[in-house]
């Protein structure tokens, strides 16, 4: 197993590369998800304000 992790003494380069791939990928997924959530929260708040029952919903 440790031999596998070492990758013939190039373990650092190989594993950092794979980690970067997944880190950038995760960041690409999180960005739109966070933006979508923010939008949704804003819209729900606006709707509540318009209906006039903001106090009720907030509590």
């Amino acid at each position: 197993m440790s031999e596998f992790l070492e990758m013939g003494s190039h373990g650092f380069y190989v594993w950092t590369s794979y980690a970067i791939f997944f880190a950038v990928l995760a960041w690409q997924v999180c960005q739109p998800v966070a933006r979508h959530r923010r939008l949704r929260a804003q819209l729900i708040e606006e709707q509540a304000l318009r209906k006039g029952n903001y106090e009720d919903e907030a509590r």
Binding site: Y13, I20, V29, H36, Q47
Partner: protein
């Protein structure tokens, strides 16, 4: 038949339909990506033999090369969308062109960083200003420039048209990246996989490359739809369909 395709196209052009359709398609794309990437990475790390010269460090190839291809492929796709934006002014195409830029930038970033990490143990340096590496860095700056230009406009539809002009100007960099290793002497080696002619990779090593290449294509499609529907909903936030579908109790985010 033609009529049917035309109708389907017009339907997809309707924001509400696109939002719903892409929402239903997305889980399947993620499943496909997960399967392809898991199999590809398993092959890349556990199955394929080491290289006769580089040993195990060449395993970086299986993420570096598909990312590089996808960075360029994203640009070509974005350019087609930019032409549609400029000529036909179809709104979904505008949005898809604009949200392609950050995705392409991400693939370019992966390509550059993994390339540097591969260069150190093989070439002896993280970076060199040769034609291939430099033109790829230019691609990253073009992507960032497109994002910046689009963000600078209050009117997003106008911003999309202006940024589309920049996209088409930057298109010239794509053949430069591709042919840089043939036109000039570079530290970077030539192409291993050739569309025409024989590839210079042993058949026992090629399978994970194929899987990872398809996986990055599916990944682009998934990220594109995710970003497009968010951008679409944000632009249409005052419209009834968004209130119903995004903020409504029945709709799922």
């Amino acid at each position: 038949m033609w009529q049917k395709i035309k109708v389907a196209f017009h339907k997809l052009g309707s924001p509400a339909y696109f939002y719903g359709f892409s929402g239903r398609l997305l889980p399947w794309l993620w499943i496909a990506f997960g399967g392809l990437a898991a199999w590809g990475l398993y092959q890349a790390l556990f199955v394929v033999p080491p290289d006769y010269q580089q040993g195990d460090s060449y395993r970086i190839l299986f993420i570096h090369v598909p990312s590089a291809w996808q960075a360029m492929m994203t640009y070509v796709t974005m350019s087609v969308l930019a032409v549609i934006t400029l000529v036909w002014r179809i709104r979904i195409a505008e949005i898809m062109a604009m949200v392609s830029a950050p995705i392409g930038a991400a693939f370019t970033l992966i390509c550059l960083t993994t390339g540097a990490l591969w260069g150190k143990p093989t070439w002896g340096t993280y970076w060199a200003w040769d034609a291939r590496l430099t033109s790829m860095l230019v691609l990253l700056f073009i992507y960032l420039g497109i994002m910046g230009l689009y963000a600078a406009f209050e009117d997003r539809r106008k911003g999309a048209r202006v940024a589309s002009v920049l996209i088409l100007v930057g298109l010239v960099n794509i053949p430069i990246i591709h042919f840089s290793v043939e036109w000039w002497t570079t530290l970077h080696q030539g192409a291993t996989i050739r569309l025409f002619g024989e590839s210079t990779m042993d058949p026992s090593m090629i399978e994970p490359l194929i899987y990872m290449t398809i996986a990055t294509k599916v990944l682009y499609a998934a990220l594109l739809l995710m970003r497009s529907r968010t951008e679409l909903a944000d632009q249409d936030r005052r419209r009834a369909w968004v209130r119903q579908r995004v903020a409504g109790s029945t709709a799922r985010g």
